[in-house]
Structures are given as structure tokens and as C-alpha cells.
Symmetry: C2
Subunit: 388 residues, 2 copies
DNA sequence: CTGAAAGCGCTTACAG
DNA sequence: CTGAAAGCGCTTACAG
């Protein structure tokens, strides 16, 4: 291994002089070096292929210029390709992105334990900051605070909002507005939100959860249009009572319905299928369904084939997230494309600001709007509502 | 930060004694410590939340127990979820998986430069070994040798075989055999291999490339069955001359055909679509098509809707890789599921053996067979061949 | 402008 | 069984 000392010895000078030229803070070094010597040092370093020892640098307490990224892997240990785009933004900013994962014996489902382990690793690696993309999975605020207290700024991406921690997420409300507007303008009248049962009973979390934000946004979008919103609750077992509002056909109506079992991982496909089966079986007069994400939409679409239901004529369907496969199936999806590049940029801005100016515990939350992609799971020409 | 010294001072003993208990090689330390003292040290460490400084440990030249994993990100910087499963295997073995990516300004398409940068990072991080999953993208052997020479063992996963470097890959030949057998047993007779034009003209690489392996496996599987194989070449422009072998209907025939433009990234979808369009347009009498991967199959399947071609009656279609979405579309795919878990395990075995016993430059290449998934893009009951 | 010293937190010899 | 020392490769004060 060629070190600063190697170079110093060869050049007959002292090691710190070499460090002043090759070190990471060479610009603000107090050691003056003549231009000629500097050049000789640089030449020799180049010639020998000198690379600074990262570990030695880190020992001195300097910045590592490494940003840790934590993803929530699915049950088989894989990571969403979209999420990995967060790393691309980090590289563009001149930092290194390091991804760590849980170590053996840890059950990925035990959210809190898993996160604790990842946070430990981040502290061990002395990263300058942490980005955490855990989707809607549980992250204890205390673990994030552990990083912040150790001087490591944190920004969460999508997922929940934690008090005092910077947060960047897709704007659920704006996306919902786009979807509702799109559906109504193409003649759909009875819009059904495929809702999720609550995972957690924590009151604290309630106001931050994706499902809750989404439900609130749905209600808001419909009420803005003077439309009534009815709650059907769980529709996967008994046939729900159908409110009068669903009988009339002119005015838009919002319907909120859910399956009893929460969808996780691949279960999303089945959850989507199950919902559409329930709607058909109970003859619930919805004509457009807003699914939680593209995976659920895909599962539902498949089920419509077997049920003999026509899409988009009989049911319009929308997803969320804009996965690439959704654009290449039998019906390209009408969905909201997740603005991951913009999210990555904003998240990085928040992180870098804190790395450079110190940690900021003023809650800062940024919402980035997604884009509507109009596909073939909804009508492409305005027409009369079905069920007439 | 609580260090060994903190604990030593509090306990009134010397720091190396603490190190002998809490250090990574505490078992084979030459320093004897009484059980009582050992316990007191452990208790105090626990109480103060002591964590060893990874950087200080690495400075002493000890193993880092970190394995670097290098993926080839697609054009938008995302990573295949399947590939990230490699990391899960590493964790199960008690190592840490670290993923690095290129730094700014690097064009991911400039394969060699990109890889050089990643290799530098791996060396800087003093990883114990490197796993590299670059698909069929270009990796210069010299870069891998740079790691090996620095004492860092390397194993490549899928992609090409490099002389002297351990390699684990899906068994293309076995997969081809499964597909051909499946198609023939369900009555398909004229099997068309969707081939790729060569990317590289390097003679050296030719014997290792996925497309070449695949083509050879196809020919082998058909010749084993005394079937003739005809080369149509490029079919995306002019109508090819159809050999007599394609006119007769009883005996199986293998057909090799390609589009002129290589498919990369999302272009795979279009490539699949383009091939099926060419077949229909030129009335090429194939009745089953073996696509390069599931993405191409999906693109082709979509095109069949627009072309009014019936799948699986008129054309049977198979993919490769077994992406999860392929199981949930209008036609669940007949495909070969990539045995990623087994691949990860084998790759890790090869890597750990070298980490523990020193680098081994005897070329070691392991092929892991995939699994056939019989779906709805091929017939599910034996029947007569079409075009009769 | 240049050199000698201290220190980061460990591990690994080497003395008592 | 226990302590004092050297060294890994840097950075950052402090002398000349």
C-alpha cells in the first residue's frame, strides 16, 4: 500500500507536507507548500497510484462524504428499483451512497429490531447523513432520533412523517386530485376508493399514515365537488348495506371500501383481485376504482378477465406509483407516476443543508406532486356513465 | 463516543485488557482475563452502549467482514429487485453487504470507466470480497484482476465468464432444455429462438456471452432430438427466404431469428413486440417463440393483442427470468425462474472459501439450473400443432 | 515556507 | 493473569 509516508520518504520531505497537498482539506491547510513541491508531490502520487486510506481519514473525525441509504426490502430481500434511484441523486451531488441491510437472524418483519440494527450500522460507518425509504412500514421515531442525537441528519422519504425529522414524499393529495378529476371528466360517477384496514392502532401514527392521507385526500377531492362520500367499510365478507346515494346516477359519489386483511408484499396482487370480486358479487354500483398502487391494480385487472368484467367500460381502474410494467400489459395503467427523481433531489437538498449547517429539528416536510399517466384502464373518450 | 479507554478508565484497568474482551479476536487473544473481570467489562460495555470503531479496527488490518456488491444499474439508476437478493445471502452468512454505485459525472454506459470507479471504491472500503452482478454488460477482466491482485477475492454472478475468476450463473443450457421439452410435449413443432445481434465483435468474449450460450443451447436441444435448425437471420426488414424444412409439419424444426437493433433496457419491450410483428408480417410459420427474457415476452404479448394473434393457440411464447409481474398479467408467463437464492448461496460459498483460504485462480464456474414455470403463454393441454 | 509531534481507537506483539 | 508500548495512515495543531 502506498501511503503519504511512502511519498514523503521518496521525495525526502515530511509526511504532513504530503498530507497538506493530498489531504481532503488541502485547500484550507495551514501548511504552505511551494507550487513546485506541490507539483512534485502530485506527480509522485499519480505515478504510484496513491489512494487515501478512508479509514485513517475517518479516524480523524473528518466527514466521510458518504450518505447511507436504507430501504425496506420485501420478503425475499429485494429492493424496489424505483427506490434505488435515490442513490443516483446522491452520486450527482458528489457524495457516495452506501446501502446496508439487516444482518442474519433478524426477521425483517420485526420492524423495530430491524431498524435498530440498520441504524447501528449507519453509526458504525460514520456516515454524514441518512436517507430512509421505508414505504409505509413501521419505523420507530426513537431510532431516527438516535441518529440525529449522534449528529447524523436524517431525511425520510415517503412513508410516515416523524416529528422533528425532515421528510420528502409524493403529494398524495395532489395525486388524488388528478385522479378524481380525470375519472370524472371521462364520465365516471361513482368512484370507489380501495382503502386499507389500519395496521396500527397508535393514535399518534394515524395522522401520518399513507392510507389515512389517501382517504382524507379522496374525501377532500370529492367534497370540493359537492359530492357525497359514503363509507361501506369492509366488503370482502357480507354484502354491505347500500346507501341511497348510490342509487341515483347523476351526481358524483365517493365510496370507501376495504378488504379485511391488509395487503403486504405480493399479497397486494391478491388484495386487488379480492376487492373487485367483492364488488361484483355484492353488485356494488361503483364504476371506477382507485387502487392503492399499481400492484393491486394489476391483480384486479387479472381478476376482471376471469369475472368477465370489461375494463375500462364497466369499471375504470387507477393505480399509483407508475411501475414500468404497468405500461406494457394488456391495459396500460392509468396511474400516478412517482416523481422519484425530484424526490431524490429534494431529499438530498434537505440532507446536505443539515450536513453543512448543522441539524435542524424544525419539522420540514416537502410534498412533490406526481404525474398523471392516462392509460387504458380508464376510458379514453368522454362518454356516459355505465350502469344506466 | 464510548471507547475501550472509557471503559478501562472507569474500571481502573488498562485499555488493552478491555480490548482483549471486547475486541473482534477476543477468543484467540494472548491476554488472559479472569472470568470475573471479563464479566465486569462486558457489563460495563453493555451499560455504556459500547460499539467498536470499525475504522480503527480496519486500521489494524483485520478483516472488515464486509462484502461489496456491485450491480449494474439501469439507465435511470435503479437496480433489479432480483439481484438485490444477493445481499440477503450475505447477511445470512453473517457478513455485511455493502452496495456502492458510481459517482457523478460518470456515464453508466461507459462500462470500463464505471467499473474502474466501483473497483476503486471497493478497494478504498477494504472489503473482504466482491460480488459483481453485471448481467450481460461489459466488465473488463483487468478490473477484476486488480481486485484479486490486491487480495480481494471476486465472484461474478451471471454475466460473462472471466478467466481465473469464480463465476456462478443460471444454467442456460438446462433452462433451454426444459423449455424445448415443454414446448414439444405440448404440440409445438416449429420453435423460434428470438436471438440478439452481437453487441461486441471481440472474439474473446464470444464464447462467454449470454446470447451465444443461449443460441448454442437451443441448437443442442434441437439436435439432440434430430430436429433441423434453420438460421433466418434478421427478420425485421425484408422477408427472409423460407427453407423447405419450414414447409413440412411433422418433425420439429428450430428457427433462429433476430431483430437488427439490440434491445437494451426498456427497449426489450419494443424488441419483443417488433419480433412478433415481423413474424406475422412475413408469415413465418413458427408456432412457438422463445424470448430472451420476460420483458421481451411482455412486449410481444401486448403486440399480439393489437395484431389479433391468439396466445397460446396460434403462438406459444416463453420467457426467461421469472419476474414476479409475469405471473399476474392477462397470461401468466411460461418462463424459467432464475434461481437467485441458490445462485447467491453458491456465489457466497466460493467467495468465503477464498476469503478464508486465500485467493484461488483456478477457474471455477458453477451453473445453477432454473425452474420451469408453466403458464398460459403456452398451451396447457397437449394438442395438435397449429397451421395444419 | 517546512518539520516534528500528538492524537483518533483499535490490535498485536512484548514485558512484568 | 495484567500493564505499558508500538503501530495502522491520516489530520490538525504547534514550533522553527
Amino acid at each position: 500500500m502506498v501511503t503519504q509516508k511512502t511519498i514523503a520518504t521518496l521525495l525526502g520531505i515530511s509526511q504532513p507536507t504530503v498530507g497538506a497537498v493530498l489531504g481532503k482539506h488541502s485547500n484550507r491547510s495551514k501548511i504552505g507548500v511551494s507550487p513546485e513541491l506541490r507539483q512534485r508531490i502530485l506527480d509522485k502520487a499519480q505515478e504510484l497510484g496513491y489512494r487515501p486510506n478512508l479509514f485513517a481519514q475517518a479516524m480523524t473525525g473528518a466527514r466521510t462524504r458518504v450518505i447511507g441509504v436504507i430501504f425496506y426490502p420485501d420478503s425475499v430481500g429485494s429492493t424496489s428499483p424505483q427506490e434505488t434511484q435515490l442513490c443516483a441523486g446522491i452520486e450527482r451531488a458528489g457524495y457516495r451512497a452506501i446501502t446496508v441491510r439487516g444482518i442474519r437472524g433478524k426477521n425483517a418483519d420485526e420492524g423495530a429490531v430491524y431498524v435498530r440494527d440498520l441504524v447501528d450500522q449507519m453509526l458504525d460507518l460514520r456516515v454524514d447523513g441518512v436517507m430512509i425509504a421505508f414505504g409505509s412500514s413501521y419505523v420507530p421515531t426513537s431510532e431516527l432520533m438516535r441518529l440525529m442525537k449522534a449528529g447524523v441528519p436524517v431525511v425520510t422519504v415517503n412513508g410516515e412523517l416523524h416529528p422533528g425529522i425532515a421528510h420528502v414524499a409524493v403529494d398524495v393529495e395532489a395525486g388524488m386530485e388528478l385522479l378524481v378529476e380525470h375519472l370524472l371528466s371521462f364520465g365516471y360517477r361513482r368512484l370507489l376508493l380501495s382503502d386499507s384496514p389500519p395496521f396500527s392502532t397508535s393514535e399518534h401514527l394515524k395522522s401520518f399514515r399513507y392510507s389515512d392521507l389517501r382517504r382524507a385526500a379522496f374525501i377532500k377531492a370529492l367534497e370540493r365537488r359537492k359530492a357525497e362520500v359514503v363509507q361501506l367499510g369492509f366488503v370482502d365478507q357480507d354484502k354491505p348495506a347500500l346507501p341511497a346515494a348510490l342509487r341515483q346516477r347523476k351526481r358524483p359519489v365517493g365510496i370507501i371500501a376495504a378488504n379485511r386483511v391488509p395487503a403486504i408484499g405480493q399479497g397486494e396482487f391478491e388484495a386487488g383481485a379480492k376487492l373487485i370480486e367483492s364488488l361484483v358479487r355484492h353488485r356494488i354500483p361503483a364504476d371506477a376504482i382507485l387502487f392503492r398502487n399499481d400492484t393491486a391494480l394489476q391483480g384486479a385487472l387479472r381478476a376482471t378477465q376471469e369475472l368477465g368484467v370489461r375494463v375500462p367500460e364497466q369499471y375504470g381502474m387507477t393505480g399509483h406509483d407508475g411501475v414500468i410494467w404497468g405500461q406494457y400489459g394488456s391495459h396500460p395503467f392509468t396511474t400516478i407516476r412517482m416523481p422519484y427523481r425530484e424526490i431524490a433531489e429534494k431529499a438530498l437538498q434537505l440532507l446536505l443543508a443539515q450536513i453543512e449547517n448543522g441539524i435542524d429539528t424544525e419539522s420540514c416536510s416537502i410534498r412533490v406532486p406526481g404525474y398523471l399517466i392516462a392509460g387504458a384502464t380508464t376510458r379514453q373518450t368522454a362518454s356516459e356513465p355505465p350502469h344506466t
